[in-house]
Subunit: 183 residues, 2 copies
């Protein structure tokens, strides 16, 4: 299984950018397409607008009961009818990382209901979290979502609920890129 | 602040190897010396026996009360009288990483008393944890300890207590390298 992926903004690619905006902090350079590929794959020679990396890892906050529900409900990426995607790289503040595990967990779930909110949109919205902070990347996380077009409204609701949570007070950089399959 | 470090086993270096053994799983190649340096430092041209990398990160299990006690009690690395060191790279099993956060925390602290055991040897034994799993390294962690020679017996006791804990049932590779300052 590949664990580490590169996210590449360029003039061509698998996903066509519908729109992109900086929600908080600095934007990414403009790109018309985005591709996601294992970092140990063949290097492409094309000029790119930006390149981010992230890796899949274990979940940091989910309890056993949450994990069991998540695993039994969520769908994988790459479903044929999921032609819409969102890539939302996020950086959290130094204040967040200074918190202890129990404080982060309390904000993440007991206060902000992060997992519970995501669960409400399963299985329609597939998600994958990529960790980037410990790779020295400009974002701490790259969040990736896939869904069929009829669920686009639900996805906007999901994003709005998370952004209005207490947890998001600790987000100090966020870029939102909406994509659709190019082919 | 540097976050990512390389641990280099070679024929010369900052620390002289007193002894090295595989506690569980495969050993590392023999080396007479070990050096620790930031990965963004100047590259050395010398042949090396092995090279591991790890990065400092936030603590994954400590609660606020534990963190407060740790920060007020522990001493940094590099104390002049701390001429003894131990480097113990550790890998945990797939079963560990499949656990949920609350299960890992319960084994780590409520069952195995990992933080509480470490606290009992502060400030004599300085520690630094480097994370390596998400860098695709052969170990998940590189643990590093420094102490003055009169505390060597206490250090052996600390290691023995951790190794006999339930948490250690999930350790599937461990190498133990004891060092003293070369100069």
């Amino acid at each position: 299984m590949h664990k580490r992926y590169a996210f590449i903004g360029a003039g061509e690619g698998t996903w066509r950018v519908q729109w992109s905006r900086a929600v908080r902090g600095e934007a990414l350079a403009p790109a018309t397409h985005v591709s996601v590929m294992p970092v140990d794959g063949p290097p492409g020679g094309e000029p790119v607008s930006w390149r981010l990396e992230g890796h899949m890892s274990n979940l940091r906050y989910a309890t056993r009961s949450e994990l069991t529900v998540l695993r039994s409900t969520q769908e994988p990426l790459g479903r044929p009818d999921a032609r819409c995607a969102a890539m939302i790289p996020i950086r959290k503040s130094a204040a967040w990382w200074e918190l202890a595990q129990d404080e982060r967990r309390a904000i993440f779930e007991e206060t902000s209901h992060h997992t519970a909110i995501g669960l409400a949109y399963l299985p329609a919205i597939s998600r994958q979290l990529y960790h980037a902070r410990d790779l020295g990347q400009p974002f701490d996380f790259i969040t990736w979502f896939e869904y069929a077009r009829p669920h686009a409204g639900e996805f906007e609701e999901l994003v709005a609920r998370l952004r209005s949570s207490r947890e998001w007070d600790f987000v100090d950089r966020e870029v939102d890129i909406r994509l659709e399959l190019a082919a």
